[in-house]
Symmetry: C2
Subunit: 339 residues, 2 copies
């Protein structure tokens, strides 16, 4: 009787989401220490929402191994706090004025408050994991995964800063950067959930690889969507990456392929270095170069390769097939959005 | 035979210092990940040295309860990393150009690198604690102490920023700020060592209170030394706090006492708000006001009160009297410097 199983899974996804949202709300309401300048920005950031997909992945991965997802809730919330900590500090590094359409902390308060409240949030993330009811041995194990992933995220952020300034970046460097900056946290969220659920080391490794590859696919999808998305569905202006000369997979691939075509290379370089330009005109011209080199198709193939590679790791897990299917559906709905 | 015991203690202090220095060196040599922009600043900071008294206190506290100090080494090093993390971020907040007479990270590299490498160092601190050979249950216990102390340090730093801008600060606020910003980390270093050594909860609390009160005494001593130190012994220029209008215990107490003396109050305010002044002249004049209100003696009494209060907590510990004496001697040599 597969249908009731599906329903119960769908229900449990919604239940987990409710538990996560309630958990964040409870955390915020208890975040009333002094001085307020330290804690108010954290309540503000966490109240801006977001999809909260990382904690959901943690709870689902726990459930996948028939663990008690309730035990995974606090570590899952800890991962969501870590994600928000990294956004707060990244926004300082990028000098970003907005996050989720609201002023960033360093914009609304100031830079020092953003640094310090970010630090406090990272400690709070550890606190949630340490204070969870996961047995001590397992808790140390998940803390080690958490440490490792947290360091990789810092490395990815530093690489991103380096690459922004570098003149030449090759595709493999770009993929490594997005792996570290984005994909490993999705991977770690799943691995931590799996370990809480009682997964064996090998299975935990496989679910990590699933998350990592899906995460890379997610970022490549993002690069494609920025140029080719249906604007209404995607909800943001097309071509922002082209205007900002952002070193996406598409641009890097076009630069690579133009190595054998001096004329196209010069055309692309001229657009990149143009001190002034009409935005619409630049987007059209660069998109035409992308089309010339068939860059969209190459990016989609690359994305699909990572996606399929991710699935192959998931398929190795000795868990209920229906639960796997449901996890895939969820990941697709969260991550792989329509072009 | 007390003499051999003293000798063996003195030896163990030196041994611990060697182990700590070697441990930091080993940590730095293994800190060779990529990108170098993330890790090179950390090797630089840690190589600048410092007294490394916090890890020493951790190892001594472990030994005080007859624990194996070797097990405390990695958590002790983790505390030293945390201390350095907080210095890196504090130096950004204060825009400090120098630390230990060398350029700060944000000065030598840039602010973004200082933020991010600081973050990585905080994670590395957790990693050292998590990877230590302390039994899992105890490890979780010390991680909880570490989390708590780390948050208090953030709160103290935020209070310090608030108070810098505030026009009126009362003594009790100042004491609370230095307690959080400085004293609780000394307290936590001792408590964590004690817990690793097998201390009972009540004894761990008492050694925390010992450290906290000694830490406040230490900061008050620092305020006094800045004005009254023997320059040769203290090794820095006298009166720096007066020139910068730093809200030290001495200044706050003088402001408080001048509440009943309109003439002296105006004189003090004039020096504080003077847009231009001769440094030597200002130091002499403000010191004269301090003398008028007997502020040095009041500060020394306050310092001695915290010092004695600290000792009263130490004295309650059911541990070897000679070890206690040796810890006191060490704390005095590290913390209470000659006026």
């Amino acid at each position: 009787m597969p249908i009731p199983v599906i329903f119960s899974e769908v229900n449990s996804i919604q239940q987990y989401q409710v538990q996560i949202n309630n958990g964040i709300e409870k955390f915020c309401s208890e975040l009333n220490g002094r001085p307020v300048e330290l804690y108010e920005p954290l309540r503000y950031t966490l109240s801006l929402g977001g999809k909260r997909m990382r904690p959901l992945l943690t709870m689902l991965a726990c459930d996948l191994f028939d663990g008690d997802a309730a035990i995974a809730l606090n570590p899952a919330l800890g991962i969501e706090l870590f994600h928000n900590f990294s956004l707060i500090h990244d926004d300082i590094l990028d000098d970003a004025p907005l996050r989720r359409n609201k002023p960033t902390i360093h914009q609304k308060w100031n830079r020092n408050i953003a640094i310090l409240s970010g630090d406090a949030l990272l400690v709070k993330a550890y606190e949630l994991i340490c204070n969870s009811s996961v047995p001590s041995e397992r808790k140390i194990e998940i803390l080690k995964v958490f440490n490792q992933v947290a360091l990789l995220v810092c490395e990815g952020q530093q690489l991103d800063m380096n690459y922004e300034k570098a003149s030449v970046i090759i595709i493999s460097q770009y993929i490594k950067m997005i792996e570290l900056k984005t994909a490993v946290l999705l991977a770690g969220s799943l691995k931590i959930g799996a370990l809480i659920g009682g997964a064996k080391e090998e299975d935990a490794k496989n679910i990590y690889e699933f998350g990592k590859n899906i995460g890379i696919a997610f970022q490549l999808q993002d690069d494609i969507l920025d140029v080719y998305a249906n604007e209404e569905k995607f909800g943001k202006q097309k071509g922002g990456d082209i205007i900002a000369n952002k070193k996406t997979f598409l641009l890097l691939k076009a630069l690579e392929l133009s190595g054998h075509n001096a004329y196209k290379k010069e055309e692309l370089q001229q657009w990149i270095y143009a001190p002034q330009f009409d935005a619409k005109h630049k987007i059209e011209a660069v998109t035409a170069i992308y089309e010339f080199f068939n860059v969209k198709k190459i990016a989609e193939d690359e994305m699909m390769n990572y996606y399929k590679k991710g699935l192959s790791f998931l398929n190795q897990l000795p868990v209920n097939a229906q639960k796997k299917e449901n996890l895939i559906s969820l990941v697709e709905s969260l991550i792989v959005r329509e072009v």
